[in-house]
Symmetry: C2
């Protein structure tokens, strides 16, 4: 999830100097209009320690007319607060209608911290998140517009901030604690965001390495969220359509995960042959060990047309005993499948304990081809992310090793392979008009892939983005990853 | 919650013989229409052991055309099923579009049983319920109509069934185990129903002491649920409005909790004075003990006009030190309160640790006066039950003693008191045109009170229905109940 907010987005001084005054004026205008409408705006500021949440709060207070804006910081609870149910402190600070409330630290803070330090069990934490969802649903049902920001930065940058702080003689004790527990904090936060990223109260993850990018991204996200409500036919009724993107991208510095993937890795013929045959031998043994240990494996292959999915799959199946795997090629659903929920046909093919199922294309069709080609309505594909995450969690909760590969090539490489196919008689069947049509929508697909990775790359089922301009490198990378993951599961 | 399904509803042989053929024909007709529409109907059959779930399943199969109906019983998991994620067994049995699936035992069964025998912690159980909600949401979003039945019977009747079974020489081992754990099963089930009673997938609790009532109630509920979808402008889109009543009531044998409350209890003057002064002395001491133990108390008073709420409250406040309590009379909200969620004004008045707040009328106005008078829209008051349950759970989770009194009188007694007030100069101010207007809506209020009790009488915050035709009895009953509850909390 957070990978998509580690792309090094920046905004230049010049751009910032141009954009910031326009943004500011627009925010003030929006605030003026809000004054006449009976709903509050609740802004939640949370995220990684050291990402500049305090600076953002100051910036927001500078941008808005402070009449009609309240900022509340939630740190230590007062004795007054401790003597009442936990949410009392939030109820008392809720902004009234027509005003803006900035929540610096919020109903998320305590639960996340308690979970990081294991004072809450996983199930208790999920119960807390459930209560938070109910609270936000209640506010939203009552008309509140909730805008939730998560400020993200990498461990490396956090360490750098820590060093800077020390140099400046103002080491923050919180920052120190959190940077020690960065990985744990990251995985707990991921769960929290996933469980509470709802249509009525979506999250916006802001890449925060660059201050100017961060501020601009916050301002523009906020502006568009408020405006969308103000411009709705009935502004007091909450809109329940989630944003397309979990991770905020602004035109000034847009980037996708695919743009940042290094496509240069390649292997020589002899390296390829050596490493492939070593990896396949490993995989052969591991597959039998998994069978004995009753561990299921599910491999998912997605990627551009002509990225080499089939070739990679054959390198896996070439290694595993034929009794142990099945390859499911996903084409149009059967009549029987069409009479069911779209996930039904994947559930029915799940492997028994010890076996392996390889999906050549998968349930991700819902958020890729069906989204881009308009085969699914917005409300259908947008809720699919959560449905998929839940499905995959059920798989991994029962011990399944789940591997998800996206095979990535450049558009130039695709063109080259298409033309090769046209020229080679036994490959001509592989290329259809549809492939050319898909190619025209490259940018839309790229956007959809980015959202897919941001929303469904989870700690329990991360995406593996495979540079596949060089087929040899891609195949070896896939087989070796399978080995590594199986090995880890067997330990 | 279950109190409202223990009212002894019955249907006579004659009525059943008249109604059943009509119902059957109508169900068949509905099934015919379903055949042409692309959504499935999922019927969940669950509830207390011995309530006749098997008989209901047989009856449904007799009523419907069995082509297009599948019945699935979920008992022991097969080895096939154990080797895959838990929900796999349900996915494989889902009915395709245009057909009906009867689920005998379901995704609820295992979690409830595991929780009854404490193999799941409270938080783990809540996580499971959450997963169930997500599963039903997914099905419903895809068009499925889910009709969930919970068959309820009292412990007494269950014991009777057990004896009968023994006599007939076919003692059911399950029935024996469950009747031993009746109370625990009841409280676990209550939580499960409350957490999963959603707009898209509501529960129907069926009183099951009388077979004919039970069957007729099931058939009619099912018929109206299917018809509502079939008659909707767009039948493939799930309706998200919950039913008004959690506990099913059919015209053939309608009953409310208030109808069944015995209003005859009364006290003589001397008994009243003795018991009241004893109870007040107890309460005085207990209030100080609660203060020392830092236990909060919240008392809620609701009831008919002229039922004697004020008098009962004064008997409490007369006993407690004035520093320890506050009485909040709920009138129209202030301007400040109107700019917030309707629960906000109750949150802000919550007592500090050790203190007591008495609400003269309360948050229940939302589902009583606001519902009946139409001050709130259907979607507002219908979601208030869940909001209130959650609010009260937060109170009791933090150790608050929460007491909810409904003071009940007969319409005749109310008339008598109204006229008395008119005649007594210092009481005339107490009676307004509004009181007479409310009186005209007695039946609507009675219905609303019944729903309120069914949906918000929980194990952690049960309603106390007080027979108040005799003021003396009502006051003593209220003060003594306060004492008992405080004493229990102090132990």
């Amino acid at each position: 999830m957070f990978e998509a907010a580690e792309l090094g987005r920046t905004v230049s001084k010049k751009t910032y100097a141009e954009k910031e005054p326009i943004l500011r004026t627009a925010l003030l205008e929006a605030q003026q209009r809000l004054r006449k409408l009976p709903f509050p705006v609740i802004i939640i500021v949370s995220g990684v320690e050291g990402a500049g949440k305090g600076e953002v709060v100051n910036e927001l207070n500078r941008w808005f007319d402070t009449r009609g804006v309240q900022t509340h910081a939630f740190w230590d609870e007062s004795d007054e607060e401790l003597e009442r149910p936990k949410f009392w402190r939030f109820w008392r600070k809720l902004p009234p209608k027509s005003t803006i409330g900035i929540m610096f630290g919020s109903w998320y803070t305590e639960s996340i911290i308690e979970r990081v330090f294991r004072n809450l069990s996983r199930a208790e934490f999920e119960s807390e998140l459930d209560r938070i969802c109910e609270f936000e649903r209640l506010l939203s049902n009552d008309g509140a517009l909730i805008v939730k920001f998560w400020f993200h930065m990498t461990k490396k940058t956090q360490q750098k901030r820590l060093k800077q702080d020390r140099k400046n003689g103002k080491p923050s004790p919180l920052l120190k604690v959190f940077s020690k527990n960065y990985a744990r904090f990251r995985s707990v936060s991921e769960l929290a965001i996933r469980a509470t990223d709802t249509g009525f109260s979506p999250w916006h993850i802001i890449e925060s390495e660059d201050r100017r990018y961060r501020n601009l991204a916050v301002g523009e996200t906020l502006l568009s969220a408020i405006r969308r409500r103000l411009d709705a036919p009935n502004p007091t009724v909450p809109l329940s359509q989630p944003d397309d993107s979990l991770v905020t991208d602004i035109p000034e510095a847009s980037a996708t995960l695919l743009d940042k993937l290094d496509l240069t890795p390649e292997l020589s013929r002899s390296d390829y042959e050596d490493r492939l045959s070593a990896a396949q031998n490993r995989l052969r043994t591991l597959a039998w060990q998994a069978y004995k240990a009753q561990i299921n494996t599910v491999c998912v292959f997605e990627g551009w047309d002509a990225a080499g999915k089939g070739g990679a799959i054959r390198r896996i199946t070439g290694a595993i005993d034929a009794r142990l795997y099945r390859v499911i090629s996903i084409a149009a659903p059967t009549e029987e499948e069409q009479a069911q929920h779209y996930l039904w046909r994947f559930w029915r093919q799940l492997p028994r304990a010890g076996y392996c199922t390889i999906y050549d294309r998968s349930w991700y069709g819902r958020v890729l081809v069906e989204r881009v080609e308009g085969f699914s309505a917005h409300h259908e594909w947008s809720r699919a992310y959560a449905e998929i995450n839940d499905f995959e969690q059920q798989l991994t909760d029962t011990g399944t090793v789940l591997l998800k590969f996206w095979l990535h090539i450049s558009p130039e490489k695709q063109l080259q392979r298409f033309e090769e196919r046209k020229r080679t008689p036994w490959k001509q069947h592989k290329i259809t008009d549809e492939d050319w049509r898909n190619r025209d929508r490259w940018d839309q697909y790229k956007h959809a892939v980015n959202d897919m990775v941001a929303r469904t790359s989870t700690s329990y089922a991360p995406w593996v983005l495979v540079p596949a301009n060089d087929k040899w490198f891609a195949r070896v990378h896939v087989v070796e990853t399978c080995c590594d993951q199986l090995e880890a599961a067997l330990e």
